[in-house]
Every structure is written in C-alpha cells, then in structure tokens.
C-alpha cells in the first residue's frame, strides 16, 4: 500500500484511489476510418512496463477527481503528480 499525494486533497492511502491505467493515450479523431487492428491498438494495447510509467488515477473515495501520476512500477516510487491537462514532466 503506497501513498498518493492527491493534487487536490493531499497525501492519502492508496486504498482511497482507483487506478485508471496508462495516461496520455489519445483517442483517434476519426474512429470510423480506422482498421480493426488500429482500433484494437487504441482500445487494448498498453505498455505495462517495468519502470517509470505515466498513469491516471482517480481519488474515488475522496474528491473524485482524476489526475496523472508518474510512478516507477518496480518500486512504487511516485516521481510526480500533476493535474489533468497539465504538461507531463520530462523524464
């Protein structure tokens, strides 16, 4: 159980949050023009790497806001937290 510093409420236990998977996946502008493979790529394919990963998290049992987290999946170290719409920090 790690701690997440919600950009709105402050530091809380992980149990108050739910994970929204990888961040910064852009929805294709014209889904109808995509092939099935391209659409599946957008819908299902995630990097799921070991190391520093950009993720979306939702403070579902607190302020219920979405935000982004840069987390190292190998040791759960959180490098930074930033709001939706903000520029991701450069590695």
């Amino acid at each position: 159980m790690f701690l997440i510093n919600c950009p709105f409420c402050g530091e809380r236990d992980q149990s108050e949050f739910s994970s929204g998977g990888e961040a910064h996946i852009v929805r294709p502008k014209q889904p109808t023009e995509l092939s099935d493979d391209e659409w599946a790529e957008f819908l299902f394919m995630r990097k799921n790497i070991k190391g520093v990963q950009f993720e979306r998290w939702n403070h579902s049992h607190g302020c219920r806001k979405w935000f982004n987290v840069v987390r190292d999946t190998s040791n759960d170290k959180i490098h930074s937290v930033y709001k939706m719409g903000e520029k991701p920090p450069v590695k």
């Binding site: 159980m1 790690f2 701690l3 236990d13 040791n75 759960d76």
Partner: protein, 295 residues
C-alpha cells in the same frame, strides 16, 4: 523446588506463584517467568526433539531466536497453538503446554530410531524409499510420514477469540527496545517527532537491563542501573509511545509496517475472558529505524 533459580531479580515476582502444566505434569513458577525459565527452574531441560533425527534438544536462548524449545499450547480443538517458543511465552495460571515433534513422548521417542540408524540413511532417503510398492503409499507410508513430519498440530475448529486492528501514524518508528532503540527513540522524541518504540518482550531494555555486575558499565554505573534511568526518563516524554509485547511482522513500501500486539496471552484463563486477544497495528511511519542487532 530445585535451586536452579536465580533469586531476587527485579523481573520475577517471587511472591506470586503461578501453576502450569507441561506434558501433563504440574509445575509452578512465578509471575514474570517465561515458560522456558520456569521449566529450567523446575529442572526440566529436555524439551524437544530435532526435526529429522529426533535428537534430544534443550533450551538454548532467551528470545525469539530459540530454535529448540518449541511447544504446543493447550489441547482444545479450537484454541490449541503450535510452534510457540517457550522462551517467548509468559506463563499464566492454567497454562497447558506440550512438547512437540516427538511420539509417544519427549523422553522415549520412536523417531529417535532414525538417529541410531542415521549413518545408514543416505541423503534423500525419505523421498526415494517411500516410493514403492505403489499400493503401500496410501495405507502405510503416508500416515507414517504425516505422523512424524511437521511441527505441532493446528487447531481444527474456528478460533473463538476476538482480534482487533488499528491504523496509526508516526514520524519515527523504532523497532526493538534495547539500549540503542531506547536512546534513538529518546533522541527522536526530543526532536519533536511523534515516535513509537516497539519491543516484543514484556519490558523494554533488551539484554542490557540484566547486566548488573562490574563487567558491564556505562558512565561508571552498572549498565542496568544506567538504562533504568533512561527508561524512566523516556516514560515521561509525551510524544513517545512505548509498545511492549509487540512484534513487527511485515515491512511494506512507503514505511508501512504491520505489528502484532499481544494483549491477553499472558493473562490467566479467567482474565482473558471477553477481551481482545491480539491487535494488529497498521503503522505508517515517516522513518523506521531498526535497532535489532540480532539480524
């Protein structure tokens, strides 16, 4: 009673007799005794058998590091507890303990036969020998192996006791209440940090607290005297909490630690009633410091 006991120590209350049973025989010790110390005072040395060859074993240490004096507590189907170290268990009125890993009893042990023929048993004997004939497995080998293998019996009925848990947050967690643990907790607390000091024994002080002769001195006093003063001092610090009979069981990320506090295991059966038996502390520390030199 044999004169094996060291009298007039601070930690044993010799005015309060506590009777208990070991392997069906009645003994008594005093309040403050562990099962190990009470048994030694009663002249009981043979307390277990080694795992494989069932060689006789006695008490070897005085804490959680004990490899031999492992016993089964109680014989009720719901409350019996295996693998309790006699060196950690405080005796209480009505305690019933049994030796483990020996059959039919600790003094005459059938498994000990393995010891006599051990030069004849090659490595891996157990695994190779009991393979054939195939039909023997279910009826002969398995029950035999099951009887001689494993340590102790687990309870077969649901646990009737009550348990509790609690989240706590501290700036500093100090694990181990020995000399260095006490001093580091004191320094942390005095620097205005909310501090928790935990120790698995019933009193803090570690081994230093028993060092009251001229070969152990701090500041020209007996080590124990010096440490008692420190313990007395830290008991007055507001933002320092001391938890005894508490052992850390897990250390997770972000300094999240789990500790088990024993609340009633040392009380007599009558006093245990309707009380929480153990409490799981879910500790979130800003910093944790391990002062346990044993590991």
């Amino acid at each position: 009673m044999s004169d094996l006991r060291v009298h007039k120590t601070k930690y044993i209350n010799e005015t309060k007799r506590v009777s208990f049973k070991y392997d069906g025989k009645n003994y008594f010790g005093y309040e403050g005794d562990t099962l190990a110390s009470a048994l030694l005072a009663n002249g009981v040395h043979l307390i277990g058998r080694s795992f494989k060859y069932h060689r006789p074993r006695g008490i070897m240490s005085c804490g959680s590091e004990e490899p031999n004096a492992i016993c089964q507590i109680g014989d009720k189907k719901d409350l019996t507890e295996p693998n309790v170290r006699a060196t950690e268990l405080e005796i209480y009125e009505g305690l019933e303990a049994f030796s483990q890993n020996c059959w039919p009893n600790v003094k005459f042990d059938i498994g000990g036969i393995n010891n006599l023929i051990s030069p004849l048993i090659p490595a891996g004997f157990y695994y190779k020998t009991f393979m054939w004939p195939k039909s023997f497995w279910k009826k002969v080998y398995e029950p035999l192996i099951r009887m001689s293998a494993g340590l102790g019996k687990s309870p077969t009925e649901p646990d009737p006791d009550m348990y509790d848990h609690k989240y706590v947050h501290y700036d500093v967690l100090v694990i181990g209440g020995g000399l260095s643990g006490i001093i580091s907790a004191k320094i942390a607390a005095k620097s205005n940090l909310k501090t928790l000091l935990v120790d698995d024994k019933k009193t803090i002080g570690g081994s230093t607290i028993y060092q009251s002769n001229d070969s152990f001195k701090i500041d020209d006093q007996h080590s124990s005297k010096w440490l008692e003063k420190e313990i007395n001092e830290i008991s007055k610090i507001d933002n320092l909490t001391v938890k005894t009979r508490t052992s850390i069981a897990a250390y997770h990320r972000y300094n999240y630690l789990l500790a088990r506090e024993n609340l009633t295991d040392h009380l007599s059966i009558k006093d245990k009633k309707d009380k929480i038996r153990q409490r799981l502390w879910k500790i979130r520390a800003k910093k944790s410091n391990r002062s346990d030199r044993r590991n």
